[in-house]
Symmetry: C2
């Protein structure tokens, strides 16, 4: 991983150059950076798919975007293939994912297609900046989509496993939808934050075995008085331990949303899905048409960003990626290009 | 496990006594018999939940059933709890499962509630007998429900892993719905049967690695010309190896129905569900309201039973259960009470 100067970007007719305000660091980047998962575009490649910024150059059909603040979706589907036409945009095989199919956002500038771009209305509410909104591109929109697919409502009890840089937003989204929320983590500070931002119960997996977690969730479920059928569980830790906990919490008719990414396999009894009549479902990001609604929850103050993020200079990328890989970063890290910006 | 004489059964007002024509042997019975999974009712208990027979005694509200031939659903929901009312009958916590919540069908007679009983229209089509229809109670209806939930249609490509006593029916159900069917097994005879009963491609997992299976399925998918989005895979082997294969075959947007039961855990990368935007779903049997449609497929000749079953005397139960446990029985075994019947 190294910092380098690249030629000025030249947008095609339906492309724009976005001056990066911020780009969040995701566990998928870690898997790419450490070789656990290959990028679809050959190396060398600029990673980073959680991008916000301002359009500073536009192709001939893209003039309307010039000067606009935008969030770049982590997954940009083609819009015309059978999967896109069938409403399954996230599995589009012609999708463009910055930092995977081409250069991404750990840079001062990034070249992206205009399709799927999410316009950011300005001025922003007080306390929000454009770089903070980068996390909407994945850390907010991906749990948003996972929760949307589960048809979560006010009668549901939801368990969020991992209340970090993704789960902290998951807790808030579920709470905003009126569900009764349990947050599970191994970090006391994260749990305290989750309790302040919507969790009705927080459980420390560092000090409580699965059996104890299950019992506590069941008691909470009973006392919640919610009438939803089946627990809704979301794995947002991106760790094998979190996945084992989430799968272990499955109960009759439960739904498990697999949001976090972990390369390492885990040992599970797959037949529990059968014995419990349960469902496990994953989502590869979020279709661009859901971004405005996710962004709106942030702008309306239903999802607080500030307590769940931390800003770092782009130059710190190697150290930050290492820290994220070690799960020693409590919040979602955002890389922010600094003084090298004027070189473009 | 032993054969014994029990007192005559006395039906309550909404109950009937069914003289057992046949009772299929399921891997769930094996898990119960060998202690891998505890029965919900305390031991000693008569196992067996795949029952057909004739009503020979009826409680005061059940007179209309007297003399009728019936299939007893493997899972009999209460019909009134919130789960039942919400259309999630298979997770009803007040459900009665013969051979789990009370005495089952490895017997001459069984006492069951009338709710959910599936009437068998008579006379039966030539080649079918009432004891053969016992497999509709689980081995046919459970894959039927799994396939129904997946919304399988004529534009889909489906992979059935395990073409034995359950998968053989799965292949036929999927083919009857017009899907292009791949059957995978480790047994040549089963594969030949699957090819004769609807599979467009059969693959031998004993001689082909996962990579080869994947490649063959992809080629078949391309050549099938089907436009369905995402492969639909059903694990019907009830073995850890079959489960690993089924999970390993997941591709973008795929759906995995977990039908077979295996006690042993397997090692999987749960995040594949996320990376592939895939779903894994299990079903605990089939709601009674789906039985008539499943039975109709059998009566209409869309599902052949004879090549996929084998009849044994009830007295052979210990040996048959052992053989099923060792996966050395190719077909669905049905236990049929014999000369002891008149003792009731």
């Amino acid at each position: 991983m190294k910092l380098c100067d690249l030629p000025r970007l030249d947008p095609g007719s339906d492309e724009v150059v976005v001056e990066v305000a911020g780009c969040g660091v995701c566990h998928t980047d870690i898997a790419f950076a450490y070789g656990d998962v290959p990028t679809r575009h050959a190396l060398p490649l600029i990673l980073g798919h959680e991008i916000s910024g301002r359009v500073v150059a536009a192709g001939e059909n893209a003039g309307a975007w010039l000067g606009r603040s935008v969030i770049v979706p982590a997954v940009i589907p083609c819009g015309v293939c059978p999967a896109c036409q069938a409403g399954r945009a996230t599995i589009c095989r012609q999708q463009f994912m910055p930092g995977n199919d081409g250069n991404g956002g750990f840079a001062t500038h990034v070249l992206v297609p205009t399709r799927g771009l999410c316009a950011v209305p300005e001025p922003l509410p007080s306390g929000l900046t454009l770089e903070m909104l980068s996390v909407v591109a994945d850390a907010v929109s991906t749990p948003y989509e996972a929760i949307r697919r589960s048809q979560l409502g006010a009668e549901d009890v939801v368990v969020i496993v991992g209340a970090g840089g993704v789960g902290g937003f998951g807790v808030q989204i579920a709470a905003a939808l009126g569900a009764a929320v349990v947050a599970i983590d191994r970090d006391r500070e994260r749990l305290d934050l989750a309790a302040r931002y919507g969790a009705g119960l927080v459980l420390d997996a560092a000090s409580t075995e699965l059996k104890g977690l299950k019992a506590a969730v069941r008691t909470f479920l009973k006392e919640s008085g919610r009438k939803g059928i089946g627990l809704k569980i979301f794995e947002m830790s991106g760790t094998p331990a979190g996945q084992a906990t989430a799968f272990g919490l499955l109960d009759y008719g439960a739904y498990l949303g697999v949001v976090g990414f972990a390369s390492k396999p885990i040992e599970i009894r797959l037949s529990n899905l059968m014995a419990l009549d349960a469902t496990a479902r994953g989502n590869w990001g979020c279709p661009p048409d859901q971004y405005p609604a996710a962004l709106q929850m942030v702008l309306a103050g239903k999802i607080a960003l500030a307590p769940f993020i931390e800003l770092h200079a782009l130059e710190e990328a190697p150290a930050i990626l290492e820290a994220v890989a070690k799960h020693s970063v409590r919040r979602r890290a955002i890389l922010k290009p600094g003084q090298r910006k004027e070189k473009q």
